[in-house]
């Protein structure tokens, strides 16, 4: 097996916390805009995860420039031996290289949040969301591996971490220094497969895989504490052998710190990002505890969110 490889220090020119927050707020506005346009969307996921995803892309992951087309390619058929036209959405995360990181996106109902961030980062064209949830488009409501920014098909939740483990394992076998980053939602820790995966990562001493968890404490039926608690998550993960950090999920510096220098050890990294599912859109708190998918119930409510978006745009300008 490979000897631990010293990792370079974080890039001093990396964007600071204020810059990450600026991207995160832009993501919230874009997701709100689309939720208004479509009268429905995974809005609370943008509120909770915007800083986590923005920090991963701006501060944590070493990715090459996007190689995907600005206008997403239409659906070209599912992968198969007779379909040479199938493609991957991972090319929006740059090319694969031994020293480059990989991004595995697990809760793919957050797709709109990821697409929005890719647009803000310039990895995806500004009009890409015109195809969101349209027939024949790969900019799917729940992403698959052809969707921009997606490398695996993870809609059946809690399957991505195992796949990322296999990828990380393979990269270690080949002696690559690049790391594998997995973005997960906390609900996925209800699935047994997640714990099988952490057991395997620890047993095989896979130290080139890091997980960021959007711990927003919400799931489809409501508050996780009512549906099926996963707490104490940090203690559970520590008991499973991970290097666990619990941080404020809206603080870019706190989010980025645990990843600094990560990659040469023999334990997986788990960063539990404690987040607020209404952060930046206070109006949404009225809907608690049903935050999983937002659809406006009345014209008054729709107008209130339209006014909020206008105010958010004004504040950003």
């Amino acid at each position: 097996m490979q000897a631990p490889t010293p990792q370079p220090e974080p890039n001093p020119a990396a964007p600071g916390a204020a810059e990450v927050r600026r991207f995160a707020d832009a993501v919230r506005r874009r997701v709100l805009e689309h939720t208004l346009t479509n009268n429905g969307g995974y809005l609370s996921q943008a509120c909770s995860s915007a800083e986590v995803l923005a920090t991963l892309y701006l501060r944590v992951m070493r990715l090459g420039p996007s190689r995907g087309p600005a206008t997403p390619r239409p659906f070209a058929g599912v992968p198969g031996p007779n379909n040479p036209d199938a493609f991957t959405g991972a090319d929006y995360n740059g090319s694969k290289g031994p020293d480059l990181d990989r991004f595995i996106f697990s809760p793919v109902h957050y797709a709109l949040v990821l697409y929005s961030l890719l647009i803000e980062l310039g990895r995806l064209g500004p009009d890409a969301l015109d195809q969101f949830n349209q027939d024949g488009s790969t900019v799917e409501l729940i992403g698959a591996e052809h969707s921009p920014g997606h490398e695996v098909t993870a809609g059946s939740l809690a399957q991505a971490l195992s796949q990322a483990g296999g990828i990380a394992f393979a990269r270690r076998l080949r002696g690559e220094t690049g790391r594998v980053w997995v973005f997960m939602s906390d609900g996925e820790f209800q699935e047994g497969q997640t714990w099988e995966a952490f057991a395997a990562l620890a047993h095989h001493r896979i130290g080139n895989l890091g997980v960021y968890v959007d711990a927003n404490a919400q799931q489809c039926d409501g508050a996780m504490a009512d549906v099926m608690t996963i707490e104490p998550l940090a203690e559970r993960l520590r008991a499973f052998g991970a290097d666990v950090h619990e941080v404020d999920g809206h603080d870019p510096d706190a989010l980025a710190a645990p990843a600094s220098g990560f990659g040469g050890g023999d334990r997986p990294l788990a960063v539990i990002a404690r987040t607020d599912p209404c952060r930046g859109i206070e109006l949404m708190r009225e809907r608690t505890p049903k935050l999983h998918y937002v659809r406006f119930k009345s014209d008054d409510e729709l107008r209130a969110y339209q006014d909020l978006l206008a105010a958010m745009r004004e504040a950003a300008a």
Partner: protein, 336 residues
């Protein structure tokens, strides 16, 4: 007499993988039980123990396959097809990854009872898009199935045999993807058998030929894709009908594949499906279970009688008196 080979997969896997560094073996706490212990000892750096955690193992295999490795999962067939079905379908089959799922203890070949008897695995794997489905029936199939699987662009399910395995077919005649083995020609009846049922079918067909019946007998090792022109021709020629014989439930396996083929090709043949008749089994010896559930040579004789409407006069004694030879000899007999 036919030769019996002890643990053919165990030795063959070690030899076969020697010059294939891209081949890995993943195991879920059934390493020696699935004859992967030889590989583990010979190539420890390519063997990965993933514990009793099949869902995660499927995902790990998918990730390794995405990176250019060829993971050969070894566990019991039930633990590939039932518990982690979603992971097989979504993590492995949807992206068409070259993961090879080697499943042991097919049907009622184990005394392990209902939890260990894969009576639905062919059905479950056959309905998954991109999946190729193979089944071994003898030591020659076992010796050649890895070459066939390795050449497939996509996931492969191998219904594998372990332990004492008869060599029914000449060692020099390997399994071929999508092509049944023609064990005998005839036009009264067409018998299509898979796996361990082929040995039973050979016994019955020999006795039936002795009674003057002309029987086409084909051994099927590729369950999906299922479009062999030899199979279609043999079915079309059968005067009295077709008999499918499989160590599996009658729903979704060989019998169902044949029914689909008969209907879609417009062959209009009667079909009797020998197999477990929409039932689970339980723990007992293989011979006892094959008789109890009607998967043995006598079951085929009874099916022939049902299709022809004539008693054959063949009893247990006559079947017991049949001496099987390797198929080389049987085919020579047929040629005469």
């Amino acid at each position: 007499m036919i030769e019996t080979v002890t643990r053919p997969h165990r030795d063959h896997l070690v030899r076969w993988a020697a010059e294939r560094p891209e081949v890995l073996v993943l195991s879920a706490d059934l390493t020696a039980s699935c004859e992967a212990d030889g590989f583990r000892d010979a190539y420890p750096e390519r063997f990965f123990s993933l514990g009793m955690a099949e869902q995660n193992m499927m995902g790990f295999a998918a990730g390794l396959a995405r990176e250019g490795f060829f993971p050969y999962i070894h566990t019991f067939a039930v633990f590939i097809c039932r518990r982690p079905f979603d992971q097989v379908a979504m993590s492995i089959a949807y992206p068409n990854l070259p993961v090879r799922l080697v499943g042991f203890l097919p049907g009622i070949t184990t005394a392990g009872g209902v939890t260990h008897q894969a009576v639905d695995d062919i059905a479950l794997m056959r309905i998954i898009p991109n999946m190729t489905v193979l089944e071994c029936g003898d030591a020659t199939d076992v010796d050649s199935v890895l070459d066939v699987a390795q050449a497939v662009d996509g996931p492969v399910y191998i219904r594998q045999l372990r332990g004492e395995v008869p060599r029914l077919f000449p060692a020099a005649e390997p399994l071929r993807l999508g092509r049944a083995r023609r064990l005998g020609d005839g036009d009264d009846l067409c018998v299509l058998s898979t796996g361990v049922c082929t040995e039973e079918a050979l016994r019955a067909v020999a006795a039936l030929r002795g009674q003057g019946l002309s029987i086409a007998h084909l051994h099927v090792s590729t369950l999906k894709p299922f479009n062999d022109p030899d199979v279609i021709e043999a079915i079309a020629r059968a005067r009295h009908g077709v008999i499918a014989m499989e160590n599996h439930g009658i729903n979704g396996g060989l019998g169902s594949a044949i029914a689909e083929l008969i209907a879609e090709e417009g062959l209009g043949q009667r079909l009797i499906r020998i197999g477990l008749r929409d039932t689970y089994a339980h723990g007992a010896s293989r011979a006892w279970l094959m008789r109890e559930y009607g998967l043995d040579a006598m079951a085929l004789v009874r099916a022939v009688e049902a299709l022809t409407g004539e008693p054959t006069g063949i009893g247990e004694d006559a079947l017991a008196a049949v001496r099987l030879e390797t198929m080389q000899a049987a085919e020579k007999t047929e040629d005469l």
